[in-house]
């Protein structure tokens, strides 16, 4: 079931176009990563979806009563308020019944790991704690749709892993759309990939689909030394690229067949082979390719 559908979404600031003709849909219970270089229009898109910005044109269709949670890239809290006070206010303003607001707030703070500091003022919180509180205020009313702007970019690797695990545990009850430039994280939790550049959607699909589209029939062979690699590259008839002590072969054939041929060639000629692999593009490589205009 489609929970959110965006059609021809456009945001203009005078002459400048921040988001142009953006169309996509989110299926219920899925996680979608919104990636793209700085200034691609990711934050503007999320702000429009969250209802903070009005679109210049286009439409956003979703069931508003199912609720939305939003975590801005840098959440700002009232420094004089305690975490629990803020959560209770957020819950009530989001429509949680006042009878349940306090217990719901406490439960959510426990969930994000802030249970022990719930009565501390948010002005004393570190960046990581604010990010957790930001997540907590976004999910306290159990929204069906969760919009997160760079939820883990400000965190250290441990914090990133913990937040990503928390987000995963919200599925499949919650549909998540998040922007990120930490592609490693995106690869771990994404059913759909939206790639934006200059305000436009330049690439989208499931992670598998996108990877397939950018996969190149390349086989990478690693040698012990660069000299051995160079010697091998000189012997083969396929187009070969030297990369330090490795050789990359671009073979215009079915992966299996190509691999067999390479292994056969290696068997009778070469020395010092450490590894042979069929290359698949990482998200980072795809990112650079798409961002660089292919």
């Amino acid at each position: 079931m489609t929970i959110l559908e965006v059609r021809n979404l456009t945001k203009r600031y005078g002459e400048q176009v921040a988001v142009k003709d953006l169309s996509f849909a989110l299926e219920e219970g899925t996680a979608t990563a919104l990636i793209g270089p700085n200034g691609a229009g990711k934050t503007t898109t999320l702000s429009m979806l969250a209802g903070l910005l009005r679109a210049t044109s286009g439409s956003i269709n979703w069931h508003r009563e199912s609720g939305v949670g939003f975590l801005p890239q840098h959440p700002h809290f009232f420094p004089w308020m305690t975490a629990l006070e803020f959560m209770e206010m957020a819950a009530k303003l989001s429509g949680v019944h006042s009878k349940n607001a306090l217990s719901q707030s406490k439960k959510t703070l426990e969930f994000v790991g802030l249970g022990s500091v719930q009565n501390k003022k948010t002005g004393t919180f570190s960046g990581g704690m604010k990010q957790r509180l930001g997540l907590a205020q976004a999910i306290v009313h159990e929204p069906k749709l969760l919009l997160l702007d760079e939820p883990v970019s400000a965190l250290d690797p441990t914090g990133r892993r913990e937040i990503m695990d928390l987000l995963k545990s919200l599925q499949p009850h919650t549909t998540v759309l998040y922007s990120t430039h930490i592609l490693n994280d995106a690869e771990q939790m994404t059913d759909q990939l939206l790639f934006m550049q200059h305000g436009k959607l330049v690439e989208h699909g499931s992670l598998g689909e996108v990877k397939e589209r950018y996969a190149e029939p390349r086989i990478r062979i690693r040698f012990q030394t660069a000299r051995q690699a160079a010697a091998f590259a000189g012997q083969v008839s396929w187009p070969a690229d030297l990369d330090g002590s490795a050789v990359e072969l671009a073979i215009e054939e079915e992966g299996d067949t190509a691999m067999k041929k390479v292994l056969a060639k290696l068997a009778d000629t070469s020395e010092g082979v450490i590894g042979v692999e069929q290359k698949t593009a990482t998200l980072e490589e795809i990112f650079i390719k798409v961002a660089g205009g292919k």
Partner: protein, 261 residues
């Protein structure tokens, strides 16, 4: 869901924890006490500091208690108004600028309740401060001079309260409409002071305008203002307040998208 209650509680806590609810009344009380006390000690002050020639005799008329109360009002009209405007200039513009508003605006927020909760809190602080200040002045005038008739005093302070609410409404509406706290303060100060000056220069041509409230409030001390002009002035002030409330709510909603994300 009662959003007004939730938001008012937030405003209450904020005013309590940033001490506005304490220091604003204290300033008004200080000015309220200072006026009768300096008047009382003025002869001695002149004597010890005045550097007058030997044998000079100064005869100062003893001020009427009503005049001292009116002088307190004069202080409030300058310093008091500036303090209220500076204290509440950032109510909305500041929240947008700092980004704290974003986490409120992203919810199904009633901007009416949002604006009115701030208005009520600032209104309570402002009116309470003025009453406490005037009561302190009243008490010290009673101690050092004579008692002002209590009914006159209540009419005086009650009338002036309408003016305070008007000023509070102006600064909150400006805070909703302007991009930052500084501009909200500039617009409010300009409105309050320049319009008062305009009224005092050209006000002879009309007999009722909200700017005349402080003058009519003071007239209660000596008798009573022309009642027709008085009621028209109050009615006009309330109409202004209502119009500014609608304008402020509308601007708070309209400018919500300028909050820092």
């Amino acid at each position: 869901m009662n959003q007004f209650g939730v938001l008012f509680r937030k405003e209450w806590r904020e005013n309590l924890r940033n001490y506005k609810i304490f220091w604003i009344p204290i300033v008004f009380i200080l000015f309220g006490i200072l006026e009768p006390v300096t008047n009382y000690f003025l002869p001695q002050l002149l004597d010890s500091l005045g550097n007058l020639p030997e044998g000079a005799v100064i005869e100062l008329p003893v001020p009427q208690p009503e005049e001292i109360l009116q002088a307190v009002l004069g202080q409030y009209q300058l310093i008091g108004m500036a303090i209220l405007i500076l204290a509440y200039m950032g109510s909305i513009a500041g929240e947008r600028k700092s980004g704290t508003a974003t986490l409120l605006y992203v919810r199904p927020l009633s901007f009416r309740d949002y604006f009115l909760s701030k208005w009520l809190m600032a209104g309570i602080t402002g009116v309470m401060s003025v009453w406490l200040g005037l009561l302190a002045a009243y008490y010290y005038i009673f101690l050092l001079f004579e008692q002002v008739e209590i009914i006159s005093f209540l009419q005086f302070a009650g009338t002036y309260s309408v003016w305070i609410l008007l000023v509070i409404t102006i600064v909150l509406a400006a805070s909703a409409a302007m991009p930052n706290a500084g501009m909200a303060a500039a617009v409010s100060l300009a409105l309050v002071f320049f319009m008062q000056i305009a009224d005092s220069l050209l006000g002879a041509y009309w007999t009722f305008s909200p700017m005349k409230i402080p003058a009519y409030a003071a007239q209660w001390l000596y008798g009573k203002p022309d009642m027709s002009d008085y009621w028209w002035t109050l009615a006009l002030a309330i109409a202004f307040i209502l119009a500014l409330l609608f304008f402020g709510i509308w601007m708070a909603k309209r400018k919500a998208s300028t909050a820092k994300v």
